[in-house]
């Protein structure tokens, strides 16, 4: 896949030729993509295709071996993950990664550390408006919440960091369709608040509804890209996914 022309003005995130892996394995081969500012970009792929590896690399958990990662023009490739968070990337990891014995309120407070103090209270209100279900459970320990509630807390925590770009890694995993629907309904609202989103998903159903642009990843390579309209009408997407 040729690298997309970096359009400096409207790109929240530019990923250019990234190579990354774990141990001796190379799991991402020359991955390039762009996330448009204040829009939702979709990263599609089956299990094991490399979605989570890419998200972790973008979040700084895995150091890229080659390539560049630019967040609003600022190079963040190679930064340790806590600095990547401070640069403005909110990471909602697959598997949620909550603090099991800390309360929901604690999660919000911890995320809120990265938000400018004067904006924090208003941000918290907005976040709780987005997820009323967890607003009722502020004193509850995260480990005791249901799957859907945990996912919401994970997103809320990331939103509290006041990010410019949100990395959403398979938020629908393990959740009932109705719950997934309610989670996805929040995405357009994020856009209107100026947050850009990169959404990694296995399921096409909800992804295409909210995203403008989509990339398909398979075996650590980008194999298809286009607008949602183009890809959802394209039958070859099945092939791209299953590789068969």
């Amino acid at each position: 896949m040729p690298a997309p022309e970096p359009s400096a003005t409207s790109a929240a995130l530019v990923v250019d030729g990234v190579v990354a892996g774990i141990g001796s394995l190379t799991l991402l081969h020359d991955v390039s993509l762009e996330v448009e500012a204040q829009a939702v970009t979709l990263l599609l792929g089956a299990n094991g295709a490399g979605k989570t590896t890419l998200m972790r690399t973008l979040a700084g958990l895995i150091a890229p071996r080659a390539g560049r990662i630019m967040l609003f023009g600022q190079s963040i490739g190679g930064l340790p993950p806590h600095l990547v968070a401070r640069a403005g990337i909110g990471h909602v990891p697959s598997g949620r990664e909550l603090f099991p014995r800390m309360t929901v309120a604690d999660h919000l407070a911890l995320g809120g550390r990265l938000c400018a103090p004067e904006r924090r209270a208003a941000l918290r209100e907005r976040v709780l408006e987005l997820f009323p279900a967890i607003a009722e459970r502020l004193r509850q320990q995260a480990g005791t919440l249901s799957g859907g509630e945990q996912q919401m807390v994970s997103i809320a925590r990331a939103l509290m960091t006041d990010p410019r770009l949100l990395l959403l890694d398979e938020p629908s995993a393990g959740l009932a369709p109705k719950v997934v629907q309610s989670v996805f309904q929040t995405l357009p609202k994020l856009q209107s608040h100026g947050v850009s989103v990169l959404l990694a998903e296995q399921s096409l159903t909800f992804g295409f509804a909210v995203a403008k642009r989509a990339y398909v990843i398979r075996d650590g390579r980008i194999v298809l890209s286009g607008t949602s309209a183009e890809l959802s009408a394209n039958a070859s997407i099945v092939k791209a996914y299953l590789g068969a």
Binding site: A59, E97, L98, P100, M102, L114
Partner: protein, 289 residues
Amino acid sequence: MLVLQILINGLLLGGMYILLAQGLNLVFGVMGVVNLAHGAIITVAGLFTFWFATHTQLNPLLLLPVVFVAMLAIGALLQRSLLEPLAGIGRKSELLSLMITFGLSYVLVEFGLDVFGSQYVSLPNLQTTWSLGGLTINEALVAAGVLGAAISGALQIWLQHTDSGKCLLATSQNRIGAVACGIDVSRMRCIAFAIGSSLAAASGVLLIMVIPLAAQTADSLTILSFVVVALGGLGDYRGAVLAAFLLGITQSAVGYYGGGDAESVVPYLLFILFMILRPQGLGRAVQAQ
């Protein structure tokens, strides 16, 4: 009445043990490291307190905040120079850290021996006892037990209710989530070790008022602290509290009926018993490190 006496002594003892253990627990929870130099820090702090009290005739409790703060700095330095280099290695780092703290403990013990000598010492100041309705209560034990529990309680409050404490707690519960909140995990390790060492030093200051200490028996204190931590479940604070009281009461009872020497064997026996029957300890099963 006898039962009450044993119980009270045991509870006070337990209060002290909590303080001994929480430092070790904090370090283990955040770093996954068992600090074998823990007992040496306790002992050196205790010996220093003895020296201070006998030379200046001042109340040794005054030393508590001083030692605590000093140890914060020293602990941070030690962590940065000795333990942080091992942080990235993976599986082998557990045992390598164990070896390093093993070596460190001997350096500290030597320091204690050279500066303070090899004799057992303890402070005579607070050896007064009160009589309360038929119960004999040792003043030093009260001070140590109450202060120990208080400091440990303050730690818990700090961990659960302050911003910096919550960062530490979060790091020990989930590192990926912690970095997603912008928490510098490496700095957390440093802070955890600094505070863990300070708690050890603080318990040394209290301990010297209650039992005699000597440089060469430092590692028996490490084992004692470790027993409390292991009984409670590694990294589990509430479990450690339970274990501390269990140990205190058991020791008190055995000490009464069996004498001082039987009393000193209790921690080890409890440890072996638990390792056989319930290796995960009294608390919940904990960390996935």
